[in-house]
């Protein structure tokens, strides 16, 4: 695909659309828009804009189409696959001014929000009304809900409450040619026409620009309990995961953390935690419900299961502060690793009973390629995030040889019935590994769909495939 540069004339037109104050051309000011949280990748856009309305975005897209200028949409820039990186330069459209919760409809248990609302802000706002929006990625304190939709984000509570696909009812979208549509209806389900809402979810900003989001909300469970279980081996921790479900319990979160991850957060984030010798892995298990007796009863059943898997110790969080502290262990883990090491984060997902094999295999691949890894993730969904650390690896190995190791990780994932990326998306950095799982037939269908929405290929080029 050939693209054009943004000329002075095009820039004037951009300024006329969004207003001078919301157009950024200065290199220093563009720095913020040149990276997300994906490794150390840097791509500068030529121009960044901060539009405020679907109509402004529509006008921008018409302009980009007319001049064959690439356009990349950016949420909060917390992505881990490079989806928001303007790899072909061109125009970067930041959604940061789309930051309003437009409506919380308590009668229908629905909300309408703009995509630039921070996920946690939205969750807290509905929580004040006794409602739950359960899609809470680890980055919930900084990520935008629009980015969550675009990447099909998950978070710990998918395991009980279902994926983001269950909570996104309808989307207002600006299509690449400037048309503005609602993808569906504000209803809990519908069966009329190919489901464009579902097609937009996880399309990583390549099919259209989401400008409004209608979500489903549910009553907020009043009670919860949190357990941290310690295991001598990561395999037994992983094996316990399936057994918990098999015992008839659906926890509201079931997170896996390996010892090394806790070592990082203790070292770098000053979290106080007594990490006993001989413990290799942890499960953080949350149960929620309307009745505390039932919640306790579920905890007891879980305890019984854990005992069968050589669980060494179960820490029961008694207070809100203790719960908060345990969750902080898990939530800061990725940031802690990212902030203190050269790293690559790979996202794998397998049927949940395959987790022990996946974990063991990753470590074995690491020992052959000489990389360290820190693994954690949503074990209840079979979703393991693999943080690969450069450590003592040579620059040459890191930039060249490591790729083969990552390929082996994904080959293993696929051989176990899984796929690349449970929730981070493919973006820029995982796309070369897509053929491990998907055939030319898939790529042809995807490219065909892309072409239907974006015939000139101007929207977020260079991503997914």
């Amino acid at each position: 695909m050939e693209f054009n540069k943004i000329t002075g004339r095009i820039l004037s037109a951009i300024k006329a659309i969004v207003g001078d104050d919301f157009v950024i051309t200065d290199h220093a000011d563009l720095e913020k828009y040149s990276h997300d949280e994906t490794e150390d990748l840097i791509y500068y856009p030529e121009v960044a804009v901060k539009p405020k309305s679907p109509e402004e975005i529509s006008a921008l897209m018409k302009l980009c189409n007319e001049h064959q200028v690439p356009a990349t949409i950016r949420g909060a820039g917390t992505g881990l696959s490079g989806g928001a990186l303007p790899v072909m330069g061109g125009l970067l459209i930041s959604m940061e001014r789309f930051d309003h919760i437009l409506d919380i409809d308590e009668e229908n248990l629905q909300a309408t929000v703009e995509p630039g609302v921070i996920t946690e802000v939205f969750m807290d706002t509905v929580a004040e009304k006794g409602l739950l929006y359960p899609v809470d990625p680890a980055s919930k304190g900084s990520c935008f809900i629009g980015g969550n939709v675009s990447h099909g984000s998950g978070g710990p509570r998918v395991v009980k409450y279902g994926t983001i696909r269950e909570y996104i009812l309808n989307l207002e979208v600006v299509l690449p040619d400037g048309d503005i549509i609602w993808t569906g209806a504000n209803t809990l389900k519908y069966a009329s026409g190919y489901n464009l809402t579902q097609l937009m979810i996880g399309s990583e900003g390549t099919l259209g620009i989401i400008t409004k989001i209608v979500t489903k909300l549910i009553p907020r469970p009043a009670q919860d309990a949190l357990l941290l279980a310690s295991f001598e081996t990561a395999e037994s921790a992983c094996a316990a995961v399936s057994a918990i479900f098999r015992a008839g319990i659906v926890p509201s979160a079931l997170e896996f953390m390996e010892r090394k991850g806790l070592e990082w957060v203790i070292k770098y984030d000053g979290i106080n935690f007594d990490l006993k010798d001989g413990i290799e892995a942890f499960l953080l298990i949350e149960v929620d419900g309307t009745n505390m007796d039932v919640v306790f009863n579920d905890c007891e059943k879980i305890n019984t299961v854990l005992e069968q898997f050589d669980c060494k110790d179960v820490l029961f969080a008694d207070t809100s502060a203790q719960k908060e502290e345990l969750w902080r262990l898990r939530r800061t883990m990725a940031v802690s690793v990212r902030s203190n090491s050269v790293f690559k984060e790979e996202d794998t997902v397998v049927p949940r009973a395959k987790l022990p094999q996946l974990f063991k295999g990753i470590k074995e691949i690491g020992s052959r390629y000489n990389f360290e890894s820190v693994c954690f993730g949503h074990a209840g969904d079979g979703n393991l995030h693999v943080n690969i650390l450069k450590g003592t690896m040579s620059d040459d190995d890191w930039h060249n040889k490591l790729k083969d190791g990552i390929r082996e990780i994904f080959e293993l994932t696929v051989s176990l019935g899984g796929t690349l990326s449970g929730e981070h998306g493919i973006g820029l950095v995982q796309k070369e590994f897509m053929p491990i799982k998907y055939s030319d037939v898939h790529f042809e269908l995807w490219r065909g769909i892309k072409k239907v929405f974006d015939p000139n290929g101007i929207l977020n080029p260079g991503k997914i495939f």
Copy 2:
């Protein structure tokens, strides 16, 4: 789109693919394949086949493409929108021999089934292992799971357990050109490439032929309770629906039935039920869980809510037999109406708090157009099935004037924030009403997607748009 007839030469090729025993050409034998449960519509295929493998279907599709012969896929023929009717003649592909449950993976809580498995057979089989597949349309005793996927079917338990979209993890699909793919992975979620699994769900057999289905399963709740609440007005019954959720309860079913529906089942199905004077509508409310005390407690809370909405009587089902009898009232209603009247069934869905306005409006439209209607449905999802009865309407009014009344129903539905079809699909009979909700932009996207999958337009032509 121009199509060709099935010539003797093509027929020989078909027989060579599936075997003579599974090719039907006799007019009398084709009758079975000429209708589904949609009104009184009859369309004969030229030839019907009963293939057994994806490879046979692949060969059939290549043949149809080569000769530009239309092909229509048929499940159990329980559809209510005409999706399985071979309106252009050609080849009808019946999935009845794809009737095996291939695997129930108790470790991962997944199952792999062929599309011709009867939904209830599948549900019962997993129930024996303590597991729940909660997608149970009223026709579960006869419909195929493949048809459920193709139509995005729902059923009473969507309200608590989520839509079919949450339970279908992966699909083996024969594409119109004969390629066979798996759409995704056997994982609870994934974010790699446009989600072809979700695109197939609800595509009504127009994009590909589903040959294997991987479903999610969940632990089966051990306890449940069932209430039947009677109301003097349908509006107060509908209004109570939202209030139940607002009280923090998520019932496992929340069904609306109007009096007339019960009169039909009492009259035609011999169900014994004391229908008191002055009662206009009913809610059938199921609560489930792991603990009977909590279930009872939820029932009490529901009772308190119901009292605020002028509920006249609450019948509590004490035994399995009583529960079965109450469910039979609801499940046989559609069949009862269909078997004993000339009818049209329209499927509407709105945000749930709009149900009272929808119901009132439908009755008002009926009084203007002189049609009787029987309404029932999944009130918890805002999904109302409207059975329009011919009654004393003249043939001319039935065939001509009624259409305007149906149009008004859908216009009302859309004006209330809803859409056509919550779960029955658009198929043949609703497609003319699609422009009430959807614009040319939607149609262009849909047609574009269709063309990517089926460039010659041979698969289930004449449906959806």
